[in-house]
């Protein structure tokens, strides 16, 4: 439903040039959508390329307490199931707001991914690969999308939003051999990266001279000693300058008070609002972290709390993407690295479970409002529509209009984007 009152034209300064051509240095305002009719805005967004929102639930969300509830069964736990905006489909009562937006998404209940160790499972779900290759790691989905979809668009193309005390989750394997150009920028605690603003005494001329002096100093050294690491170091300064030019990109105070109220003042809500802002300004890939779902203890209390944080802002974000006509061109993915065990342990917790779990996805290239795959009555195994991590990645790439058999290159070594699998054609639009 389109509510024009939600749009404050003055806040967005739309410029066709900035939208299509990526952002020029400095300049007044960043791309936005105000001042256009919804249809025209949608068309602009379509022509500017696809983008991805990956919401990662670190630690492993329990499918019982979310997308595949089994109330009143042996392993179902205490929570009930509630109807959703998809007729005949129920989710856990812990997700009431998301339930009302579910018609934008499709649930996969047949995920089966073998790996129950955090680190390697995370690698699998983030790179589409079960392990590295001899001599290296594969790049993340975000880095690959940045490379294949990010040219000529807003830089940074790939942004990660996370809490400051969970740095390690932000830094796990990323651009790998795609190089520092494809590496993400991490924004902690819903604020801009630190030190985006130069000290008062450095005017533009002096900043320019500093860069020039440093580049001159590097030129001689580079003629003799070059490596991936030296290139990464040099390009980190270019990236820093890019970020400085974009400092408004992370400035949440530019969003309306009304939007701040809708998303709430809690960190995850603010993170969702920042994600919306970044996507609206045409960042190619935004990864949003939410933690910590690894509920080996007190599973039910933990999920009550976590999904309480998650539910409303996520629903709001979905709603906003839809209203802004962005869902058609934004692939939305919500998942963790595995699910949780049917059996509840002696600490009222659920442990790691990769045999039969769930995730949701929607938006760009995905048919909305479907359920694909299913588990048995007690949720202990997949009985229909079994999907591996690689099937999932084949599906993601197809949804984005990319051929999963495309090669990326480690030097001159061609590597495929993911391991063998089949896209779930039934849910592809």
């Amino acid at each position: 439903m389109w509510k024009s009152s939600r749009y404050h034209a003055a806040e967005h300064q739309f410029s066709r040039r900035t939208f299509l051509g990526g952002l020029a240095a400095g300049g007044a305002g960043l791309g936005g959508l105000a001042g256009l009719s919804r249809r025209a805005a949608a068309e602009q967004i379509k022509s500017s390329g696809k983008r991805v929102l990956l919401l990662f639930q670190h630690g492993g969300l329990s499918q019982f307490e979310s997308w595949d509830p089994k109330p009143n069964t042996e392993f179902g736990g205490p929570f009930a199931a509630i109807p959703t905006s998809i007729p005949g489909v129920a989710v856990s009562e812990l997700l009431p707001y998301t339930a009302r937006q579910l018609h934008h998404l499709t649930i996969l209940r047949g995920l089966s991914t073998e790996d129950t160790l955090h680190d390697s499972a995370r690698v699998r779900m983030i790179t589409g690969r079960s392990q590295g290759f001899v001599g290296g790691q594969y790049p993340s989905f975000g880095a690959v999308c940045g490379k294949l979809l990010g040219a000529g668009r807003t830089q940074p193309a790939y942004v990660k939003l996370t809490g400051r005390d969970n740095w390690h989750l932000a830094s796990l394997v990323d651009a790998a051999f795609l190089g520092p150009e494809c590496a993400p920028v991490v924004a902690f605690d819903e604020s801009a990266p630190d030190h985006l603003v130069p000290p008062a005494e450095l005017d533009a001329a002096r900043l320019a001279r500093l860069d020039s002096l440093r580049n001159q100093a590097n030129a001689r050294f580079e003629r003799q000693r070059k490596s991936d690491e030296t290139a990464a170091y040099q390009s980190s300064f270019d990236k820093a300058r890019q970020l400085m030019r974009q400092k408004d990109l992370f400035n949440l105070s530019r969003e309306s008070a009304a939007d701040h109220a809708r998303y709430g003042s809690e960190p995850f809500g603010q993170r969702c609002l920042l994600a919306r802002r970044l996507l609206e300004h045409d960042c190619t890939f935004v990864k949003l972290n939410h933690l910590n779902y690894d509920a080996h203890f007190e599973n039910f209390d933990n999920h009550l709390r976590l999904l309480g944080e998650f539910d409303r802002p996520f629903a709001t974000l979905l709603e906003d993407l839809d209203h802004r006509g962005m869902l058609d061109t934004t692939l939305v993915i919500v998942m963790g690295e595995f699910g949780r065990t049917p059996k509840v342990n002696s600490s009222i917790g659920r442990d790691h479970w990769a045999k039969s779990w769930s995730m949701v996805l929607g938006g760009c290239g995905i048919k909305p409002g479907m359920v694909w795959g299913g588990t048995n009555a007690t949720g202990t195994e997949v009985v229909d529509g079994q999907v591996t991590a690689f099937d999932l990645f084949h599906t993601f790439y197809r949804a984005l209009g990319l051929d999963p058999n495309t090669h990326i290159y480690n030097g001159d070594q061609p590597l495929t984007l993911t391991e063998s699998g089949k896209p779930i054609t039934e849910i592809l639009a």
Partner: protein, 566 residues
Amino acid sequence: MKLEHLVPLRVQILFALIIIVGLSFGSSQANADPGVALHHEIDRLLVSVPGALVLQPADDSEFLRRVSLDLTGQIPSGAAVREFLMDHATDKRAVVIDRLLESPAYSRQMQQVFDTWLMQRRPDRNVPNEQWTSYLREAFSTNKPWDQLAIEVLGSDGTNPQTRAAAKFYLDRECNTDDLARDISAVFLGRNHRCAQCHDHPIVPDYKQSDYFGIAAFVDRTFLFDDKVRKQKVMAEKAEGVTAFTSALTQIRGVTPPRILDGPEFCDPILEKGDSTAASSAEGAPPIPPFSRRAQLPAAVVLHPAFSRNMANRLWALMFGRGIVDPVDLDHAGNPPAHPVLLQLLSERFVQMHYDIRAFLRELALTELYGSALPSSPTGSAQIPPGNSGVTLALRKLTPEQLAWSWLRATGQVDAELQLLVSELPSDDQKSATSAGSLRSINDSKLYERLTVDAQKVIKVFVTSLPGEASRSETTAEQALYLLNGPILRKWISPRPGNLLDRLMHETSEIQLTEELFLNVLSRPPVSQETSWVQETLAASPAERVTTISDLIEALLTSTEFRFNH
């Protein structure tokens, strides 16, 4: 090795120590004094073989910077570079190696390196960091052999105030079996068994679940005990318990006694009828078992061949930028050493040298390879040149600590602080303190204390690994932002009496200015184009001389040449 009789704890450790001493004594007897210095042996293996790469010697300034970074954790001062370049003695490199190895900065560097290896930047839990780092520094200034250090770290239970600091390895992991099993095998044996906790390692056939639990079995009965009498946490041990495991992949169960990899098993002794099976414990004191599994651990670790191999490899990596086995904690058949014969030589000689770290590092620093220029790599690909054994000197980033302390030195903050310290001495002492040699007598600790708060801020920005994992320092845009816009570098550059900008501001000759700039920041003299470059830059902004010099300093401080050890 099966101990048939009940032997008191202290005697068990003593027994183990006697074995070690006997073995190392025995081995040095068996191989009669080799007569050939280790560095010559290394040269023979790497350089004198047919088809080996012909090495170009490094420039003096290159060598001095490299060896200062590796042995003392910071670049040399401009004055030290000048002195070294003007020295015409033929053995000057050997002399400087010895001087660095004897300096307090060497102890601090080794403390830093070993602290990172052993404690992985974990936050303090039960032993304050200061006590632990003092203990390490003392160990390195007295050149405690590595086997002795390992035995202390793995053998202390935290009850004795004299040795409590050494127990940090256990106590700050809260005696958690999994943390200990993984870290003991990774840090002391070069084999990170982490994935083998739940099943045989999926990728590395050598790392079996039974290996992981064999090590775990030594510490499985150990637990953290809250000693209310002495008001501290110490280690205690149960008298019984079996270490069992189930593979998460195959569901096969296993049981193992304590055992280091393929080494001998340490079975519990068979008790005589009537002997106590329970741990004895005085009121409120930690229980002491009649037989301690953990007490067997130090000797068992030290006696395994992986122990010396691991440290020989790690020390090589410290000096050459990459281990012969790389990564250093993934030694297994599928990840063979780049030069097996070299690693074998180093492992054996390290034992014969009685695990003398200082002597071993000295030998590495004296090799031709260490004294050579890095292979030129203009195309940017890190190729191993044909004919080469696969062992090279690698281009590597400075560690976060090296970076912070080198910036402090390059900007002249160390000089300025020293000057301040001297001025705070009673006036009688000041005159003697300022004479060249005795500036070093100013307490290294005092200087460190003054500068460490700022240094730690910088270090924090450049550490990208999580506490508890192997140290990593990835390059990020956030670090670049910190350097460009953050307060610290600017603070260190801005003029204060005795620092670099202060000295350069008062320098009228631009040739001298350029020389002083390059010697202090890049630890080498400038080439003529660089002197012209500085002159042109200054000439372009005559009204802003000070800010221009400041910007030149900053440009060099943030250059790639500074960032790397080459």
